[in-house]
Structures are given as C-alpha cells and as structure tokens.
C-alpha cells in the first residue's frame, strides 16, 4: 500500500473500528502498520495450496 494511501486507510480504519487516534500517535501507528504490512506481505507471497488448512492452534 502506498504511503499516502496508508494515511487515508488509517483514518478510515480508526473511524470504522471506533478507535481513538490522537494526532500525536499517528506517526508511530503508521510506522508500526508499515512494518506489520511488510511482514504480512512477506507471508502472503509464499505460495500455499488452496486446500491448506490454517493452524490457529498448534497441535503436535
């Protein structure tokens, strides 16, 4: 997601989720979201088959 688009996304997501977003927190929230979305993209680009089961709880 482009950075300027991310600013709009943060504003919209905070409103949709009814989360407070003090202007003073915004830069840190954005920095954290950028890092998390980078990690998520790293994971999402890894090919897993359609049939792959998620593992919400690990069982040995």
């Amino acid at each position: 997601m482009a950075t300027d688009t991310l600013d709009d996304f943060i504003t919209t997501a905070a409103a949709a989720l009814n989360l407070p977003l003090d202007p003073a927190w915004r830069a840190a929230v954005k920095a954290n979201l950028v890092v998390t979305l980078q990690h998520a993209a790293t994971v999402a680009e890894f090919p897993v088959p359609d049939e792959a089961e998620p593992a919400p709880v690990f069982k040995a």
């Binding site: 840190a28 979201l33 990690h39 998520a40 790293t42 897993v48």
Partner: protein, 461 residues
C-alpha cells in the same frame, strides 16, 4: 548465623528442609530479607506476599515433608499469573482496577502442593508485548549483572529475581520469546515447554494461539523439578493437552550419547553479534553438534508470528483501546492500534503458513533430536536503549530482541535456554527439541551444565 540459601538450588533447599537441616520458615525469612534488600535495585518484584509466604512456610514445617519435592522452596510469578487476593495487573495500569483474583493460577497451586512457597509477583513489560523488561508504570527490571542494563522481557522480573538470587525459581510466560530472552540476558536457564503442555488457566493472556507458561531457574535440574511438578491436563485451559505427565527428572542424567544435535545457520546467524556466535560455538562444540542445517523459511516464520501477535493482541485489547487508550504504555498502544487495522485475510495467510512451516520443522526432527540457535542477537542492551545495530542495520530493540526466538515458539516447540558465562555479560543459546520432547532439551542442558559449558554465574550484588 543461618545458612545462606540465596544461591542454592531449589533441589538443595528442598533437601535441606526435608532432612531438617533448615526450616522452611528460616529459608523464607532469608529470601524475604534478601528481596527487601535487593529489590530496590533490581525492581524485580511488584508485590511481595510476605504474610502469605510465612504462613505457608509454617504449614510446611508443621507437616510431613517427606513427600514434598519442593519443600520450603521460595518462588515468584510474573504478575500476569492470578495470585489470590491481588489484582492480576499484567504489567498494566489499566488492570490495577480489576478485582483481586479469587484463586491462584493452577501452576502456583501445583508448586505449592509440592511444598514450594510463593513470595510474590514480578515485574513485566506491559501486557507482555515487550522484549526489554522495561515498564513505564513500575519502572524497568534491572539486570543483576549490570544494573544499568535491561533484563530482557517481557518476563523481566522473573529473569532478574532468579539471576539476582532473590528466588531459585520463578514462572513467566513466553509468546514470542519472553522466557528465553530474559533467561539469555540475565544468564539463567529457562524452559518454554511445548504449546499446550502447561495450563495457562487463570493467567492474563496476550496471544492465545502462541501463549506458553514456563519456569526459570539456575540449573537444568531445577527446571526439570518444577516442570515435572506442573505437568498434567487442565480442563480450564482449552489449549492444554489431554496428555498425562511425562516426568523428565528420571531421564536427566542420560548424557549426550546417541543424540543427534545440529546447529541452525542462515537466518539464525545473520545479525548475530560476536558474543551470540561465540556462545553458540561453545555450546555446539560441547554438545558435539557437527552438522549445520538451515531451518527453511525462518524469516517468514518470524514475520507470520509478528502478524498473528499484533492482530490477536489488538483483538484482545480492542475495547480497552477504545475506552482507555491514554492509560496504556504509549509504545504498546501504538502497536496495538496498528494491529487492529491489519486485514483478517493476511492473518489467515499467516496461520496457513504456520501449518506448512510446522511440517517442515517436523521433518528436520526426523533427522535430528535437537537444534541449537542463539537465544538473543546480543547481550543485554543499556536501559532506555531504543535501537541496536544488527548486520549493519539499525533496528528497534523492543521488537527485535526476539528475532531468534519467534520462529520457534511460532509452532510451539519445546526449548531450554542455556546460559553461556561470557564476560562481562552472559548470553543464552536455545536448545530446541521436537514437540513433547522436553526431556531431550533438558537432558542436553543438564549435560552442558555438568561440562561447565552452560552455567548461571553469580552476579556481584
């Protein structure tokens, strides 16, 4: 003058109490005196349960001690464990308004049923979202080897209390490394058992699909002693395995014979400091680990753990973020708010990857009994230090001290963090075993300790 038990093991204390060489009351009085003296420096304890502890010690002294493997052993718990009569603060300001817990966390009950004596609750990073051991409300836990440095977190008080000789045994939690990181920075042993092995009922959660509880001690034997006491199913924790206890103490002295041990390179060496690599090399040589392997997609595993953590954590705290955002540690709040905004589609991808990665790791355990990797990329950073440099790149300490622990807890593997006594600061190595093979990890840790390769050094306090 009574004997100084401050650096004795739990096993030695229990034996002294059982044999009548010392009373549980004298051991507990000495522990409470040491906490009173040293806690102002270490800031490990947030609550000292002195009255309760003295009453319990008297009960131990007045009863049959012959069947109590932990008779008179003082221990303390991270303050996210329920302790009857006090609110479970989980390192937060917000939870201080909670009603006092009505019952102890079950692992406390199991340890006390074996004669151990709870002496208090321990400092931690807010809501466990932390690798530093710093807490904005209670002040930082301080490293017993250098009071100007971090303990690591989030179970910082657990690391400081055991490493500083305030108690021989403590409990903590580990979602992404919160037992193994403070064990490494404080130079002690820590066990993160298999996911689902130890009940988490009546503890304050963080990330349900990654949360584990486990012990800290100054020897592998004490870890095994505590672990055996705490094992077993518990219907009050839906993730706790319906699996009978599998005692590890009888297997502890089997040595390294027949074990196939490998070192993981690649991701687990990239960014490691000279100290982390030296510690790994010493443990590899001592344990006869000849092969170097690569754990496939470890970086992606860490990324997936990061995504699951921030989103599940945000979900847990969503209502508090809406109503009490100003009462959070700002660093924790900003991470959770960002976590709340991550699309669910990406979280499911992380959970799918998790199963794939688990299958790859289980294949590795067909060829090896244990895998060695560093516990932390560096020794203890300075208190307040925001960034450190790993592999030439500046990174935040708080999010990255668990680089090497996250890909392991991500699929719930059992790990013993063993302390390597480097000077001036210790650092740990993770001994990782297959699911439900805590016995293998503890057996290796014990053998390394017998050889002197892994040792919890006593700090000058």
């Amino acid at each position: 003058m009574s004997k100084d038990f401050s650096w004795e093991s739990a096993a030695e204390i229990a034996q002294a109490v059982e044999s009548g060489q010392a009373s549980a009351s004298s051991v507990i009085d000495a522990a409470l005196a040491r906490i009173e003296k040293l806690n102002p420096e270490l800031n490990a304890f947030t609550t000292v349960t002195a009255e309760r502890a003295r009453a319990k010690a008297r009960a131990v002294d007045g009863g049959d001690k012959s069947k109590l493997p932990l008779a008179g052993v003082p221990f303390a718990v991270k303050n996210l464990f329920d302790v009857k009569g006090i609110p479970t603060v989980a390192g937060s300001k917000i939870n201080r308004a909670h009603v006092a817990a009505g019952q102890d966390q079950p692992l406390i009950e199991r340890l006390e049923a074996a004669g151990a004596v709870l002496v208090g609750a321990l400092n931690m990073g807010e809501y466990a979202y932390d690798f530093t051991g710093e807490n904005v409300h209670d002040g930082p836990s301080r490293n017993p080897h250098d009071l100007t440095r971090m303990t690591g977190g989030s179970s910082g008080g657990s690391g400081g209390a055991v490493g500083g000789g305030l108690v021989p045994l403590a409990l903590g939690s580990d979602t992404n490394g919160s037992i193994r990181v403070p064990s490494s920075l404080c130079g002690i042993f820590g066990l993160k058992p298999t996911y689902g092995r130890l009940t988490r009922a009546r503890s304050f959660p963080f990330v349900a699909s990654l949360d584990h509880l486990g012990p800290f001690a100054r020897s592998a034997r004490d870890l095994a002693l505590a672990y055996d006491t705490m094992q077993g199913p518990d219907a009050d924790d839906p993730a706790c395995a319906q699996r009978a206890a599998e005692p590890v103490l009888p297997l502890l002295d089997r040595g390294l014979d027949g074990l196939r041990i490998a070192v993981a390179g690649g991701y687990f060496k990239k960014g490691a400091s000279t100290e982390a690599l030296e510690a790994l090399d010493r443990i590899a040589k001592a344990s006869g680990a000849l092969s170097e392997i690569e754990i496939p997609e470890a970086a992606r595993a860490r990324a997936a753990a990061f995504v699951i953590t921030t989103t599940e954590g945000a979900s847990l705290h969503l209502d508090r973020l809406r109503k009490q955002a100003n009462d959070f540690d700002p660093a924790v709040r900003d991470r959770f708010i960002a976590g709340a905004m991550v699309p669910a589609t990406l979280v499911v991808k992380a959970q799918k990857f998790r199963r794939w990665y688990r299958e790859q790791m289980l294949k590795l355990f067909e060829r090896y009994d244990a895998i060695l990797v560093p516990a932390t990329p560096t020794t203890a950073p300075k208190l307040g230090q925001v960034n450190f440099t790993l592999d030439g790149i500046d990174m935040p300490v708080r999010a990255n001290m668990g680089l090497y622990t996250q890909p392991i807890s991500f699929i719930g593997l059992p790990v013993v963090a063993v302390p390597v006594p480097l000077k001036p600061l210790p650092i740990g190595v993770q001994v990782i075993a297959a699911p439900w093979r805590e016995d293998v990890a503890l057996r290796i840790a014990h053998a390394l300790e017998q050889m002197g390769a892994a040792t919890a050094l006593r700090p000058n306090l």
